[in-house]
Symmetry: C2
Subunit: 366 residues, 2 copies
């Protein structure tokens, strides 16, 4: 195929995560991207809107699990041939690799912007601008660009990126990456926050599909080999090939399969507001951001709240009111068939409870 | 009628309270005495059992509001002619006075033991023994005996009794009362606890019906006057008289109408376990009593609890599980149509929320 001057920019939205720490609002059969957490629309719907700012309608893709395919198609509004349905969960590296292979088959020099389906980024314009800056660099065909979010707290739940030297005068703003650091402890996280040269790895990446696949061959050969049934038949009526590929693919996050092992990673530091709404605490922080009186208030996602001397609580009710008396910093989630009460601070541990329920055969609740 | 050597001892169970601090388990149409809080039976049922230890079956009486009459009759198992149904709420003085008038009409020298319907006293035998000691003194016909519970904490929600001199060699254990003190502040309550000469007023009284009525004439003349329609027709087919009497009766607690104003009050200090189960906090304390590992546990009244690193919480669920993650010292009450989350410490303030709901026309919830 002929080289185009400006290769097209595709959005690959990843919706394979379980969002277990968001239980009991997110459930196995109703995962986090489908939740209407902020602004009266699902996180997935908002993500698709963000993607449409920089990708043409035909260049927005979604990767999701088979058990959610119908709901995800509906919530995303994407055409069926732009939704890649995974036969089993194999973590982000496989989801991204399949999408890259599929898109490259249509568009050999395609640039992919990889976006999690369940993050909250209120400034869609700034986000699209950053993706375009990344895409310009990715067009070189020899770098992997990751967005680096400015940390606002000593978070121990995220991976960090240590920034290196400037990428060069041709790519203003972009930095080389010194190293990726997996979730640090609290002391280390505080140091990173002070130092200023560390960024959160937000799981947003921009790269050329072809370069990504070549790089994966080096950094994750087993994964790359698993793709072979798909290489022969990358698109259309290829369900058997998809199933065969997933059957042998290792389950690896892209951070480990690629980013930590590649020497070609650049980082684009960004300072727009970003939240992974990963826990009840992070949702509460997001809702309170920029609100000086936030600590005096309660945040109601849905339902009715009856409060007496209660503040800083997050409430997601159903068809019965939730009454709070003399409590602070709690999340109270009434999912209809189960009620969760957790301290916001300890809400990441909700995941443990969910794991425990699964172990005990209480999957009806998870 | 002829004088009997040993006047009979009647139990008068008062079930007129709303138990608002026990919301949302106790409701206007399902008040606290009907709740199965401890031991799988209603507080009222347990109170009737206690009363039967010292009063003959025909001498157990219940006073309750008309809106609860059917449920109270059923839960108490008492015959209809032993249930006095108040046409309106007029607080404890009127309820006791009516019962005294009614019982005196059958039994001129009757001794009454007045018992709240919604307290928890696990040692029914010790309780009955104390009532009998009080009854022996009350038979003199010139004293009002109140039980004085040994304080176990600097409680600010109860009235206190300051003990005076011994009542005399004929009445071992009984003390004169120096004074009644209404709910003290925290500092004063701590002083009372240290001093040892203060007792909680548990709302349990023993007196002769006739002496009580004579004393009320002096200490609460308006109340006494209001009884006049009933004096003419104290029993049987007297609904008009009851309505007339209640129509003019002032609403006064017995403490104010009688105890604080009478010079004839004695106190019988008792040391059996007693709880008014007045708030979620006091219920939690009662459930934890004598349990050294109580702080490590959660207390489940009903329903299913899923706990992860949660302790010292009280949970009353309904048909869906309650999950607690990383929280301590909370009460979580799922009443089906409304969910309450309060800190145990602040649970007395539930009453404020209930008052607020009533003011706002949300009586469906109260």
């Amino acid at each position: 195929m002929s080289r185009r001057r400006k290769p097209s920019l595709h959005a690959v939205i990843l919706a394979g995560g379980a969002g277990e720490r968001f239980w009991p609002a997110s459930r196995r059969h109703h995962p986090k991207p489908l939740l209407e957490v902020v602004g009266g629309r699902s996180l997935l719907d908002a993500t698709v809107s963000r993607a449409r700012r920089f990708a043409s309608p035909d260049a927005v893709w979604l990767v999701c699990g088979h058990e959610h395919a119908t709901a995800m198609r509906k919530a995303s509004g994407l055409p069926a041939n732009r939704v890649l349905v995974e036969p089993e969960r194999r973590n982000t590296a496989m989801a991204i690799a399949w999408a890259a292979l599929r898109i490259r088959a249509e568009d050999p020099e395609a640039i992919l912007a990889v976006l999690p389906a369940d993050h909250h980024i209120p400034d869609a314009r700034a986000f699209a601008a950053a993706i375009r800056v990344g895409a310009r660099a990715a067009t070189r065909g020899d770098v992997l660009v990751t967005l680096g979010v400015q940390p606002s707290r000593p978070e121990t739940g995220y991976g960090y990126i240590q920034l290196g030297a400037a990428a060069g005068p041709e790519h203003p703003g972009l930095r080389r990456v010194r190293r990726f650091v997996e979730k640090p402890n609290a002391q280390t996280a505080r140091r990173y926050l002070r130092k200023g040269s560390y960024r959160w790895n937000a799981g947003v990446f921009v790269w050329q599909a072809d370069f990504l696949l070549r790089e994966l061959q080096r950094t994750a050969p087993a994964l790359h080999r698993a793709l072979s049934p798909l290489r022969a038949k990358p698109r259309g009526r290829n369900r058997d090939a998809v199933i065969a590929a997933y059957g042998r693919a290792p389950s690896l996050p892209i951070d480990i399969a690629l980013l930590e092992r590649s020497q070609s990673v650049w980082c684009l530091p960004v300072d727009f507001r970003w939240s992974d709404v990963g826990t009840w605490e992070s949702l509460a922080e997001e809702l309170a951001r920029g609100d000086k009186r936030a600590r005096e208030k309660n945040y109601l996602i849905a339902g009715e709240l009856l409060a007496s001397d209660a503040r800083g609580n997050l409430v997601w009710g159903s068809d019965r009111p939730v009454a709070l008396v003399g409590v602070e910093g709690l999340a109270v989630i009434d999912a209809g068939d189960v009620i969760l009460v957790t301290s916001l601070e300890r809400s990441p541990d909700v995941r443990k409870l969910v794991a425990d329920l699964n172990t005990k055969g209480r999957r009806g609740l998870t």
